[in-house]
Amino acid sequence: MPFIPHTETDVAQMLSTIGASSFDALFDEIPPELRCGELKHVPPRLTEMEVARLMHGRAHQDRHGLSFIGAGAYEHHIPAAVWEITTRGEYYSAYTPYQAEASQGTLQLLYEYQSMMTALTGMDVSNASMYDGASALAEAVLMAERAHADGKRRVVVPRTLHPLYRKVLFALIDAQNIEIVELPADADGRTDIAALSALDAGSFTCLVIPQPNFFGVFEDVDTLTDLARSKGAMVIAVVNPVSLAVLRPPGEWGSGTSGGGIGVDIVCGDGQPLGAPLSSGGPYFGFLTARQAFVRQMPGRIVGRTVDLDGKPGFTLTLQAREQHIRRSKATSNICTNQGLLVTAATIHMSLLGAEGLARVASASLNGTAELTAMLCEIPGVERVFASPGFHEAVIRLPQPVAPVLAALASAHGVLGGFDLSADYPELGHALLICVTETKTPADLRHYRDALATVLAAAA
């Protein structure tokens, strides 16, 4: 009986205390005809040793080669200390910190996380995390609708936003009677400013601005922010948190008056690049920060600093009246859990990297992507699709359909060559989204170039 501590003596004593004759008697309120028999499709148990061997084998099956796939999930170096500390039992197996006095570790850490995320995004307030980047965007849109409750229920989303984010956004807000308007991309791979200008003032609630966008291209965030504001809309930024170590934060976007711009209203994104391993897509975490004015519209948990009976500082969950366990059907969201363990990792990760460390990661990724793009475009028939530098990502066009090229790169050269854009963006032709982070060496880039040259030559 794995994980069950009872001895036969214990069971006998306990049943006797209860006054029950057997285990079955404990279930005597369940209508007998409903009781199920043996679970035929659950295999018999394995010992830990046996399951370890099974899992080692399956893990080895998926041993990856040299990966140049990004598209929203990035391979970064994660300091060993991050997960060695994060998986300490006291973080790993702790519950939500509702009993604050017994959860000061988690609570202080979340307060530190909130502080780091507001610093990074240039906003006033942060919650303690959402599920992932795409769902955080959906919550941001719903938050904007609540804050801007004038009945328009229309959100403007550019085509340069990650296609999967657009799909998730649709699925999560579909039932709430909100219209999604898509803005096209221009020839430079950026949101078409003219299309936004053409929208009537007062006709939409908010504009979503990705920076850098799905193609790795920098949007003209100041113009977009100003335009949206001039039309009475709120602005939601979707950002890569690592990029914010070097890019002007959303809190300063727009032309504004004093130094920085007036800034956006809400910032969200996926925290994966801050210490979460790729891990097949999750668990990651979404982050959500906003201007002070919207704090009571925020979904999710928020930690505040207060004092105890002796006046000593301590931390506790606050503004819980927004949440489902208090407000039920009138809550800001149905969200209950967050991604606490990932936030633990991210907070340690950010402490170890610091602003300068994150900036170096951003810089190495930026320059590595530029270098790879240049190297691949030396191959006859390969060309860059957009002129601007790519941050983490860049789009190249191949002289042949992408799928078979990727398959050949993977099988013959151990290179996972990128994300095939042809399904989501057929207008770009045989387009491939490539990604380089600080984990790749010049030799890795050369290996990719040589492999691609070989594959293309063989197929030509």
Binding site: R63, L109, K330, A407
Partner: protein
């Protein structure tokens, strides 16, 4: 001793050098206008400072690995360490979510197997693993109910029925899906008030959200009757899997008549709570909801596994996460399921129920009042301190805080809302009898303390890093981020 904020350990120019790329910033490729002017105010600390700070902070937490956590409705059981170790094998961690199928067969095999196991334990026809938490599983479930009615052209259904004892996520989810949540009262024995239910159903009923056993810690005995009433009215039944631990291998939601279920894998399948998440809220559906399941799902063609997506399920409610949900959590649940195996599933419910009924019997014998004294406990049960409140001003909060000094996490308090001064107690199957006995001793001792000196109990806790915190001040004088003195 208090632990300063990491920001207070920071000094300009300090760094954990081994963790940074060696090359300095080179940002000429970024247009000047887009560059950040001043570095964000992040901590600048050495590696030892960070390690020591976060190790010390961890020691200011209770956790399963250190304390008994009889938290009703949360199923805080042992999280086997192998689940963590095996889910964190380097190859699993390094696998990109968009890696080609040729580099994904090992991972997909695990996910496919997990789907099959969850189908069997719930008695459902299909399972999608993608929801990232219980609340997202609920969302997916109600979205499928909505999609089902829509697909049939039935647009009149605007209400979701919810028992008054339900988790807050139930009505909140109904609202998110555009439904009105309508509460159904509970009778004196803790069952759904059947007459009230009959009165409430109608052509406006999209469905009902139930957990069984309910949050009152008792099994809803007339579940088949309820299913009949709702189904006859054209509504669907939603099973909130929060309490699945109570019935694993004993009775299956599918057999009770439910059309859709979410499972909290971080409860029943023992993935870590992690201080608040990540969860995993897999959904299971009956035959008629199969076309609407959220994508992606793992399919099998011969020996080859692949993702099923929009092309395979054109009526799907869509994607709920960027990729495929909390994959690493699902791997942990899979390892756990394989270590339990067929018989282990059944034993989970047996021993969880044994522990709850034993604790209930012992506390009753010590004079505590049960909310439903005539009922069998499921995996959890409710003690009400109404009498102690009246006689001694001893509240559920007081007990909760004082228990911390005795080395026990508090039970869930003030939930369900309809029982006054309520302690919802769930011991789980992984706790031993000696621990349960010590917990009873602690409750008895605190009650005795309250009789002697209620003020002392109200001053608790005394042995935690802080004493009772001022929540009102926290909300009124909002301090939710570090701002350096300027």
């Amino acid at each position: 001793m208090s632990e300063p904020l990491i920001f207070e350990r920071s000094s300009p120019g300090r760094a954990a050098h081994a963790q940074r790329p060696a090359a300095a910033q080179q940002l000429s490729a970024i247009p000047e206008s887009l560059r950040r002017k001043a570095a964000p105010a992040m901590p600048e600390v050495s590696e030892l400072q960070a390690v020591r700070h976060y190790t010390r902070l961890s020691k200011r937490n209770f956790s399963i690995d250190t304390h008994f956590y009889p938290l009703g409705s949360c199923t805080m059981k042992y999280n086997p360490r192998a689940c963590n170790t095996l889910a964190m094998l380097p190859e699993f961690l390094q696998r990109h979510p968009l890696a080609p199928m040729s580099h994904s067969q090992g991972f997909l095999a695990c996910m496919y197997d997990l789907q099959e196991i969850l189908k069997d334990v719930t008695g459902m026809a299909g399972v999608s693993l993608t929801p990232m938490a219980g609340a997202q599983g609920e969302f997916a479930g109600v979205a499928m109910i909505r999609a089902y009615h829509r697909a049939r052209g039935d647009s009149a259904r605007t209400e979701i029925l919810v028992p008054d004892a339900a988790h807050g996520t139930n009505p909140a989810t109904a609202t998110m899906m555009g439904y009105t949540a309508r509460e159904i009262p509970t009778d004196a024995e803790g069952d759904v008030d059947i007459e009230a239910l009959r009165a409430a159903v109608g052509p406006q009923t999209a469905g009902i959200m139930l957990t069984n056993p309910s949050t009152l810690g008792v099994f809803e005995r007339r579940i088949k009757q309820i299913a009949g009433i709702v189904h006859d009215a054209g509504g669907l039944l939603y099973y909130d899997g929060a309490n699945l631990n109570a019935i694993l291998g004993q009775v299956r939601p599918g057999d009770m008549g439910f059309d859709v279920i979410h499972m909290n894998l971080h409860k029943t399948f023992s993935t870590p709570h992690g201080g608040g998440g990540p969860g995993a809220g897999a959904v299971g559906v009956s035959q008629r909801l199969l076309p609407f399941m959220p994508i992606p799902i793992v399919g099998k063609d011969g020996d080859h596994f692949r993702w099923l997506d929009e092309a395979d399920l054109p009526q799907s409610i869509g994607r709920l996460s960027t990729f495929m949900g909390n994959a690493g959590v699902l791997l942990r649940a899979y390892v756990y399921a394989r270590m339990l195996g067929r018989d282990g599933m059944r034993r989970v419910a047996e021993y969880a129920t044994l522990n709850a009924n034993y604790l209930q019997a012992r506390l009753r014998a010590q004079g505590f009042d049960l909310a439903f004294p005539g009922r069998r406990a499921s995996h959890e049960f409710i003690v009400t301190l109404k009498r102690q409140k009246q006689q001694l001003d001893l509240t559920a909060t007081d007990i909760a805080k004082r228990l911390l000094d005795y080395g026990f996490h508090a039970p869930t308090v003030y939930f369900p809302l309809l029982v006054p001064e309520c302690l919802l107690i769930e011991p789980t199957e992984t706790e031993d009898k000696a621990t349960l006995d010590l917990f009873v001793d602690a409750l008895v001792a605190i009650w005795a303390e309250a009789k002697r000196d209620i003020a002392y109990v109200k001053g608790a806790p005394y042995t935690m890093p802080v004493r009772r915190l001022d929540d009102v001040r926290a909300a009124r004088q909002l301090d939710i981020r570090y701002q350096p003195a300027r």
